[in-house]
């Protein structure tokens, strides 16, 4: 699990540098209504339609905490192997911005609902590293400002105002752009398995603030810069890379890093300082007098723990031991819970006992290729686990070759969407020819019409492939390749 190799270091003009990254991930909690109000969280509604008087911060309105959001935070904490704090409290984080009508964000500062935890991150299917989780707390999201509707005004929509977020703070345990991407990928996977955040970065359900600093290997931490609101995994990698390069250039020129908040501009591939209109952050946190401390008992936590789904790490190692998959295939299949379920469904189709590795190969191969091409997940295509299972069985029992199986799948994909592969094979006469008489006849014909090739093959046995090709062609690919080979060798006297 150790990866302290020098391959992670960045080479500067004056020597190697180590990048140190920690992240704050804002994950939108999956819930029907908001954290402190009964307005809907549904995405894409008309402006200010999913807003209650609480979300608009009308005078006298009081927040009432959503129990489902509490449960989601605890479930996420359990998934991150973190300490659950049975007593936590809410604080006000004060700042002014038009999309924050309260003038403060209700957050958890001193006592978060979830304490220290850990994520095992997969850098490759066989190479892992650990990232410590410092805390997870619940807080409100702000509204949305649109700046491009008018040259002189900003438009404010409060639909998102008050939606529950989990802020997940990592320790500075990440050492490269690739590790940063792998961490967010893994965290997102865990959240999606748990069903506590849909992880849809395009809709802003998952956003990252990335803290980057550089240092000489072995030296104390350098001054960090925070890159705000990076909203795709690819951009997170790019932001780490360019920010580290920027800091190295400054330090190698004898300069110093200013601790500041920066923005990543993907179109220019650079980070730049956010104009600090507000002076140094002074959020003046204090306990929210409208909310009592949040308390629950062990039974509440235990009930949630008992209902937790199998998480990606456990599923991956089970796939390796139970089905004999390679770590690579297992990690591809567990990347999405639906895909893993699809695979297990295909393995389990009656009659059970088929080769799970073959099932995995077909799913991660041709079926996944079709799904990707149509922009969907495998489980969302019309191809059923039953069809995949039958295809694998047809190959295993020798009814069709792997090559014909691809043709059958192509038929399932386009013309015969609801047909059983076995019916397709029978109806279209694709059954593999194992009748040696038929194959011998084909071989005889080809040898008779190509005496020159026969002579060549007898002199040079690698010519055999040409004959195999011809036989397969004349039998429409239905001849059993092994039988063709055997018969050819005998007839050609090889």
């Amino acid at each position: 699990m150790a990866n302290t190799g020098s391959d992670r270091l960045l080479r500067g003009a004056t020597g190697d540098w180590e990048v140190v990254v920690g992240m704050e991930i804002h994950a939108q909690v999956t819930s029907r209504s908001k954290l402190f109000s009964g307005a809907s969280t549904e995405f894409g509604a008309e402006p200010n339609s999913h807003v209650s008087l609480v979300d608009a911060a009308m005078p006298g309105m009081l927040p009432v905490l959503n129990e489902a959001c509490v449960a989601q935070a605890v479930r996420t904490g359990l998934g991150l192997k973190a300490r659950i704090n049975k007593r936590s409290s809410f604080d006000r984080k004060n700042y002014f911005y038009p999309d924050l009508p309260q003038g403060y964000q209700i957050s958890q500062y001193k006592s978060p609902i979830v304490g220290e935890g850990e994520v095992t991150v997969d850098l490759t299917p066989t190479e892992q590293f650990r990232v410590g989780i410092e805390r997870l707390h619940l807080e409100q999201d702000a509204g949305k400002s649109l700046h491009d509707q008018s040259p002189t005004a900003s438009f404010v929509d409060l639909n998102r105002s008050g939606v529950a977020l989990m802020e997940i703070v990592s320790r500075p345990d990440i050492r490269s752009a690739d590790e940063a991407k792998a961490y967010v990928t893994k965290l997102r996977m865990i959240l999606r398995y748990l069903g506590t955040c849909d992880g849809d970065m395009e809709k802003g359900s998952l956003r990252a603030d990335v803290n980057v600093s550089v240092r000489r290997p072995g030296e104390p931490l350098g001054t960090r810069c925070e890159i705000k609101n990076v909203n795709s995994i690819r951009f997170i990698g790019q932001a780490v890379e360019v920010e580290a390069r920027r800091q190295i250039a400054i330090l190698e020129d004898g300069g110093a890093i200013d601790q500041e908040t920066r923005l990543f501009d993907p179109s220019r591939g650079e980070t730049r300082s956010m104009r600090s209109k507000e002076e140094a952050h002074d959020y003046r946190y204090f306990p929210d007098p409208d909310l009592l401390p949040l308390e629950f008992d062990d039974a509440f936590v235990e009930t949630l723990a008992a209902a937790l789904p199998e998480l990606p790490d456990a599923k991956k190692s089970r796939f390796v031991t139970q089905y004999g998959l390679t770590p690579y295939d297992a990690s591809v299949l567990v990347a999405e819970r639906e895909l893993a379920d699809y695979f297990e469904a295909a393995v389990a189709v009656e009659p059970a006992g088929r080769d799970a590795k073959l099932v995995a190969n077909w799913i991660t191969g041709d079926v996944a290729a079709f799904a990707n091409a149509s922009g969907r997940g495998v489980a969302d295509t019309h191809i059923t686990p039953g069809q995949v299972a039958e295809l694998v069985d047809l190959i295993a029992e020798g009814t069709i070759s792997g090559k014909i199986a691809k043709d059958v799948l192509a038929l399932v994909i386009r013309e015969e969407r609801n047909s059983k592969p076995r019916e397709i094979v029978e109806r279209r006469g694709l059954r593999q020819v194992t009748d040696t008489g038929a194959i011998e006849a084909a071989v005889d014909t080809i040898m008779a019409t190509n005496p020159d090739k026969v002579a060549q093959a007898q002199a040079k046995p690698t010519m055999l492939g040409w004959f195999v090709g011809q036989v397969m062609k004349s039998t429409g690919g239905k001849a059993n390749p092994q039988a063709v080979n055997d018969i050819l060798r005998v007839k050609l006297g090889l």
Binding site: G38, N48, V51, V64, A68, P98, Q149, A153, L294
Partner: protein, 95 residues
């Protein structure tokens, strides 16, 4: 504990309160008077006391996750000085 003039101006800025220069030193005196009044509390040793965040001997009530509110965009923007298509319209906040 007392505050100097720059601190008074900073507090005003953080609170988004316009503070005419001639009032700053007057306010400084008032704030310092309040601070010295409450300074008596510093005499109590609270090193081992957990900060009190609530005086109510009750647990927080939670609500079920159901949509019970919203869909009142007309009401939400009714007091806004400027609106368009149910958006609040405010002076531009970025350049």
């Amino acid at each position: 504990m007392s505050v100097d003039l720059p601190t008074v101006r900073r507090i005003a800025t953080l609170a988004r309160i316009a503070l005419p220069e001639q009032e700053a030193s007057h306010l400084q005196g008032e704030i310092n008077a309040i601070l010295s009044f409450v300074a008596e509390l510093d005499e109590v040793d609270v090193a081992d006391v957990e900060p009190m965040t609530s005086v109510i001997p009750a647990r927080m009530r939670l609500r079920p996750d159901t949509v019970t509110d919203g869909e009142i965009a007309d009401d939400i923007v009714t007091n806004a000085p400027a609106t368009e298509d149910h958006y609040f319209v405010v002076p531009k906040v970025i350049e």
